[in-house]
Amino acid sequence: MTRARVRRLVRLLSIWLCVAALAPIPGRAQDRPVIEVTPGQGRSFRVAVQRFASGGSGATSKRRGQLKAAIEDALSFNAVLKPLPEAAFLGAEETAELTDGPRFDCADWTQSGAAGLIEGELALKGDQLRVSFAVWDAARCLRLLEGSHSGSPRDLVRLGQRVADDAVGAFTGSRGVAATEIAFVSTRTGRREIFVMSSDGSNARPATRSDAIKAFPDWLPGAEAILYTRYLKNGVPALFLTSRGDVHPGQILSGVLPGAPKYGGVFSPDGNDLALVSSINGAAEIFRVHRDGKKLRRLTHSRAIEVAPSWSPDGKQIAFVSDRFGTPQIFVMDSDGENPRRISYQSSYSASPAWSPDGRWIAYEVRAETQFDIYVVDPLGEVTVPVVVHRRNDQSPSWSPDGRKIVFASDRRGRWDLYVFDLGTGTLTRLTYAAGDNTAPAWGPFPP
């Protein structure tokens, strides 16, 4: 090939490239204005919950109806997905069969106003109920999730709650909390006992039974046991466990700081360590210790009172209350006790810090004029926001494990009761109605 031919070829190629670059591409979006859509007013998706198919003789019509109702109640409690009323269904009211194949009724559901669909099957295998389910995105006609849960027939409502929580996770990436539980202190039996209830306030039951005074419940990370403070006969507080799993119940860390009071214990997020409060020469100080009682370390060193430790979700920091500057305020320190710094400045009295599950906020109680309110502050102490403000007292906040809600104790109706505040919708729900005072709530972790 001659040089001139090569040159001509290169020239032709260049021209072709230029023409190709300038040629209009059909459907080009680059030269059109970007249509920016900011969030609208809608905050929760409508989801159709079908009556689950029967997988055998044990899946009676009554049970399947109860399961559907439990799923819908749990969706309403989570307030992320709203159940679509059955009257609006354009698709089938009952799951015909749970299959892996494509569906052909998505248009029916979108026309019904549903963004999603929950379908499933209920079956009795031996003495266990098994719920198999799938969550669909109706607009994309795409199965987002399929799964199953098993439990005894007594756990039917709980099975429904777990399906609803999973559906919330399929749409948002963060599971719902209807199937979680809340531990709290109640005097409804005439004694101060640790009670446990479902997160919607139902199924409250005692987790301890004795005449001793109990306080400060806190969950083990696996939800199988609760750590609490119990006053011994000599009036000295000690740490105890009550268990429903393999964890051995009873007093713990009795060999640590023998004879000294130990209270307000909280497990680290990995469950290996505890932060607890003990008194040294009359001043309350915070200690850290391995759960087997080894590696005891004093974290605070001042003559002030230092109490109420709360771990950050990554276990690297601890929020606590100290009156080292004269009045109780919220502080944050590294989990080895280094770098303590004050983060609350809103009032002359701040207490009960609780770190949010995403680590971005610390909820705490603030004395404002004559009452206590619930505020949140970022861990650097730069932004403080009042969350629950009322003319009566609101105290002891605790976050739901999805970070969407805060449970707290309030005497707004004269007696101390527990309430849940939903941060997304701004709604407040009362959880306890039984007689007696109900205080010190601790929201449990997600079920395993």
């Binding site: 059909p26 979006a29 994309r140 446990v196 403000v389 969407r404 407040l428």
Partner: protein
């Protein structure tokens, strides 16, 4: 020794509760029996007839104005008891007759800059004005393009396109669900949406720039599909959409 916590305790408590309930039920039944017997045996007194039912129509109050949109304040809204504010001066009983002036409308230019168009759109949608400097002032750096990505370069849009953008935005927003947990995060998804001449969305919108959170990306795609058909576009083909989780203005 701490008490073992077992849900089997529930059975004992439930039995006790059942016994208590039966006892209360029996007592209530006996009490009602006594009351019924007394009603039968005691002679009836002549009571005046009840007056006829009077129905009263209550004047319904006007709906409160929609709450102002919160700035991207970190978390939640506080629960504060509402205060009722009374006007300082009572309103005048009679309004002065207004002089009606003839309004001379300037003819609109056929094309306007996208920034102006979006400002008009926001005012129509009741959104706040951008916190950027007036356009006469040269702003260094990204403020203009941050506030309005499409305005970078001052691209011109026709009146027809602008009207469609306004309609489309309003239409999609009406179908657009945003779970609250996304609002406090800084996420933005860019989609390429292929539209038929009728406004029907063709296929599944393509995520051309992900927000980094697949759930937020899915949310944007879901919003477009739920809103299909969109208002008929000036031209069929691909149109760029962006879904920021926060109103940046």
């Amino acid at each position: 020794m701490g008490a073992e916590w077992s849900d089997s305790w529930e059975a004992d408590f439930a039995a006790a509760r059942r016994r208590r309930f039966l006892a209360l039920l029996s007592a209530s039944f006996a009490f009602h029996l006594l009351v019924m017997a007394a009603l039968v045996l005691v002679p009836k007194s002549s009571r005046p007839a009840l007056p006829p039912v009077i129905s009263i129509d209550l004047v319904s109050l006007p709906a409160p104005p929609a709450a102002a949109r919160a700035r991207p304040a970190p978390p939640p809204r506080p629960v504060v008891p509402k205060k009722i504010l009374l006007p300082k001066k009572p309103p005048a009983l009679r309004e002065k007759p207004r002089k009606v002036k003839p309004v001379l409308r300037k003819p609109r230019p056929k094309e306007m800059e996208y920034g102006d168009a979006m400002a008009q759109l926001r005012s129509e949608l009741g959104e706040t004005a951008p916190e950027t400097a007036p356009r006469e002032v040269e702003q260094p750096g990204p403020s203009a393009s941050e506030a309005e990505p499409a305005a970078a370069g001052g691209s011109l849009v026709s009146k027809e396109v602008l009207a469609w953008v306004i309609d489309t935005r309003r239409h999609v927003r009406s179908k657009y669900i945003t779970p609250p947990e996304f609002l406090n995060r800084s996420l933005e998804t860019h989609l390429r949406v292929v539209l038929a001449a009728s406004g029907e969305v063709i296929g599944v919108p393509e995520v051309v720039r992900s927000s980094g959170d697949p759930f937020w990306d899915d949310n944007a795609v879901r919003a477009i599909l739920s809103a299909s058909p969109l208002p008929a576009p000036p031209e069929a083909g691909a149109w760029p959409f962006s879904f920021p989780s926060q109103d940046r203005r």
